[in-house]
């Protein structure tokens, strides 16, 4: 990897924003499992495995399953964020493998938020 020049930062940012942002056509849905130490201790690893298995089973190449750090609300871990193209992200809390399977079937693939497991939609105020 060649060393970056200052202008390369912008290039990477633009390219990655496209890849990360669903409205730029990166995919149909993005599922983020929150995997800080607290999340992992609360059982985020089996949640991640279940999410990957669900994505494999669905056989869609436009589903993104990714990991991230703690979402902050430790008492309701494990948590997961589901974002569909053109819609606000939805945070799910207190997950189990069964809940993940339902969220995949109904929300990720079916487009209907599973309200009983959802905490909120949108994102936090940053900066």
């Amino acid at each position: 990897m060649a060393k970056l020049k200052p202008e390369d930062l912008d290039k990477i940012a633009r390219r990655m924003r496209k890849a990360m942002s669903l409205r730029e056509g990166a995919g149909r849905a993005k599922v983020t499992v929150h995997m800080g130490t607290c999340g992992i201790a609360a059982g985020a690893r089996p949640i991640m495995s279940a999410a990957m298995a669900c994505a494999d089973k669905a056989e869609c190449d436009d589903l993104i399953v990714t990991a991230s750090g703690c979402a902050g609300l430790c008492s309701n871990e494990p948590m997961m964020t589901v974002e569909l193209v053109g819609e606000a992200p939805v945070k799910y809390i207190d997950l189990t493998v069964e809940k993940v399977e339902r969220i995949f079937a109904e929300h990720v693939l079916g487009g209907q938020i599973v309200t009983e497991f959802a905490l909120a939609l949108g994102s936090e105020q940053t900066l």
């Binding site: 990477i12 990655m16 703690c70 979402a71 309200t115 949108g122 994102s123 936090e124």
Partner: protein, 589 residues
């Protein structure tokens, strides 16, 4: 009201805000129309979005070029701009918005700006969220003195506990003659119940790397250490990966971004001694020596690692620095109180409904944190106290819940900001027992160098243990106060200097509990085993006999379908019966 949720920010909310403010000022409207940033509205796909009140007119997909026209039409002529308007779908959203959830509503994320949003193991995702942009600005367009001056002007104070002005520390280190200076990131987070630093490293390691490069440039350091405790394996793994990726991109190493500046960071694993959070002990530990504090001066800024000028800052401080460079000192100094600027991350734990990591503007009250963000006390029991600042901090009672939080105010009431631990206690917590817990912790963590701390804390622990175990005598409270003062006076470092705080603050606010233990041999909260008895209320007992099965001492017996009885000779006051009873029939006295 401009949305400052993640989606809108990445689509340029701040550029819109600046353009809007400039345009409003041009028309002399700045006093009549306030531009307010809000949390996410949930319409991210239409972002950046803006709502104009009081008419509740919703604009979408804004660009800077739209602003002059919008200001002229809407604010001057009172004609909403239809082509930019958006009608939110009438259907009610089935779930609330994040900004309506108490836990998130009052938070404002600066140090935690990327939490839950990026994959911390992919540098490109961090860059997409703006990482290393401030570093490029600092290295390529700012003089070192200008960087330090900006951080100083922002009012940022050290987030590790003492609250020293960060920019001033940088200037003092920069002023020292000679080369070979060092930068240290203190991630030896040792307070029980605190996990701010761990979480920041785990969710956004590049924020720390970027902050350290900026700091290194400001003071002229060529080498940095991240001192992370060994108990944080995931944080260590993610920081290591982040350092590797930054090196590959040339964001660390020689000639960073073509600026001619060389700097690299290595990780030092700490063995998890509480005293290593103290900077002079940390320096000795970095040098491979036993961690014992030394007299200051000379301060690390003059003589630190290997005798070279060294600047040590905490994880949260480093993670905040890039935002200050990016958005300016003035922006940062508008947040917070007169003496304490910006936001602070707290680890909110204990008997609250929502436990977690919260980042709030300085000046927020304890009540807002505990009741609005934390959701109140578990099982709606009565609040008793909140412990801030870990073992060096103090317990704050209910009468002071409306205290706005900043460094000075917390010190006034006998506690400290510390690194941000916040342990909430309810009516079931015995304050004498809490004091005993912290003394036990400090007694084993004292490095032993100063007699006052080594012997004094141990003596205080033994007295408080006596009080908890029913051997309390008149005069012991005075003895504790005297010992506390001696430990404060006779200790070199902050560990000993603040060690009596948990005792002194509980004595100050909860003296009645000490008195009950000593004079009446009674523990009002029902915690201290030697002073309590468990009995079963025959009217409430439904004879389910769950307690009989669970009692480790087989101390509970009784006829079938009859109230059960505890044999006081066998009972060890473990409280299992009370925990398992569904009918609240087990009483504690």
């Amino acid at each position: 009201m401009l949305c400052a949720g993640t989606g809108c920010v990445s689509n340029g909310t701040f550029r819109i805000k600046e353009a809007l403010e400039a345009e409003l000022a041009k028309h002399d409207l700045q006093d009549e129309i306030a531009v307010v940033l809000t949390g996410c509205n949930g319409f991210c796909a239409q972002g950046p979005v803006m709502v104009v009140q009081p008419d509740n007119i919703f604009y979408q997909l804004l660009t800077v070029d739209d602003v002059p026209h919008l200001v002229e039409e809407h604010f001057l002529k009172g004609r909403p701009v239809e082509k930019l308007m958006y009608t939110p779908p009438a259907a009610e959203a089935p779930v609330p918005k994040m900004s309506e959830i108490g836990f998130f509503e009052k938070q404002r994320l600066i140090a935690l700006r990327n939490r839950g949003l990026i994959d911390p193991e992919k540098i490109d995702e961090a860059i997409a969220r703006g990482a290393y942009r401030a570093m490029a600005k600092a290295l390529l367009s700012m003089a070192p003195a200008e960087i330090a001056a900006t951080v100083k002007a922002s009012g940022l104070r050290g987030r590790g506990g003492a609250g020293f002005l960060t920019g001033l520390k940088w200037e003092l280190t920069a002023k020292q003659p000679g080369n070979g200076k060092y930068i240290v990131c203190n991630a030896d987070e040792g307070d029980p119940g605190a996990f701010m630093d761990r979480s920041i490293i785990e969710s956004d390691p590049h924020a720390i790397i970027e902050g350290m490069v900026i700091g290194a440039r400001a003071i002229g350091a060529g080498k940095g250490f991240a001192y992370v405790r060994y108990e944080y394996p995931l944080a260590l793994e993610r920081l290591e990966k982040a350092l590797e990726q930054a090196r590959e991109y040339g964001l660390l190493g020689t000639d960073i971004l073509g600026s001619g500046f060389d700097f690299d960071i290595s990780i030092h694993r700490g063995a998890g001694a509480f005293v290593c959070g103290e900077e002079t002990s940390l320096i000795r530990s970095l040098e491979g020596l036993p961690p014992e504090p030394r007299l200051r001066p000379p301060f690390p800024a003059e003589s630190g690692v290997h005798g070279k000028p060294t600047c040590i800052n905490n994880v949260e401080t480093w993670a905040t620095v890039p935002v200050i460079i990016d958005r300016g000192a003035e922006w940062f100094s508008q947040i917070g109180t007169e003496t304490s600027k910006g936001t602070k991350v707290f680890a909110l734990v204990g008997k609250v409904k929502n436990t977690g990591l919260v980042e709030v503007p300085m000046g927020i009250t304890l009540r807002e944190i505990i009741f609005d963000i934390g959701g109140g006390i578990e099982k709606d029991k009565a609040f008793k106290a909140v412990q801030t600042g870990g073992p060096s901090g103090g317990c704050i009672p209910e009468s002071l819940l409306d205290l706005p939080i900043d460094y000075e105010r917390l010190a006034e009431v006998g506690s400290i900001m510390g690194s941000g631990g916040m342990i909430v206690m309810d009516e079931d917590n015995c304050m004498v027992d809490v004091a005993r817990y912290f003394l036990e912790f400090l007694r084993s963590e004292s490095c032993g160098k100063c007699t006052a701390c080594r012997e004094g804390v141990d003596a205080m622990y033994r007295i408080v243990t006596d009080i908890c175990e029913g051997r309390g005598e008149p005069g012991q409270i005075e003895m504790l106060e005297e010992l506390g003062e001696a430990v404060q006076d006779g200790s070199l470092c902050a560990l000993g200097g603040t060690a009596p705080n948990p005792v002194l603050s509980t004595l100050r606010y909860f003296k009645d509990e000490y008195d009950a233990h000593i004079q009446e041999k009674r523990c009002p909260a029902g915690v201290c085993r030697a002073l309590i008895t468990y009995t079963i209320d025959p009217d409430k007992c439904k004879a389910c006999r769950v307690c009989v099965k669970k009692c480790p001492q087989e101390a509970i017996s009784g006829e079938k379908k009859q109230p059960q009885v505890i044999d006081q000779d066998k009972c060890i006051q473990c409280g299992v019966c009370r925990d398992v009873c569904k009918f609240e029939a087990v009483l504690v006295q």
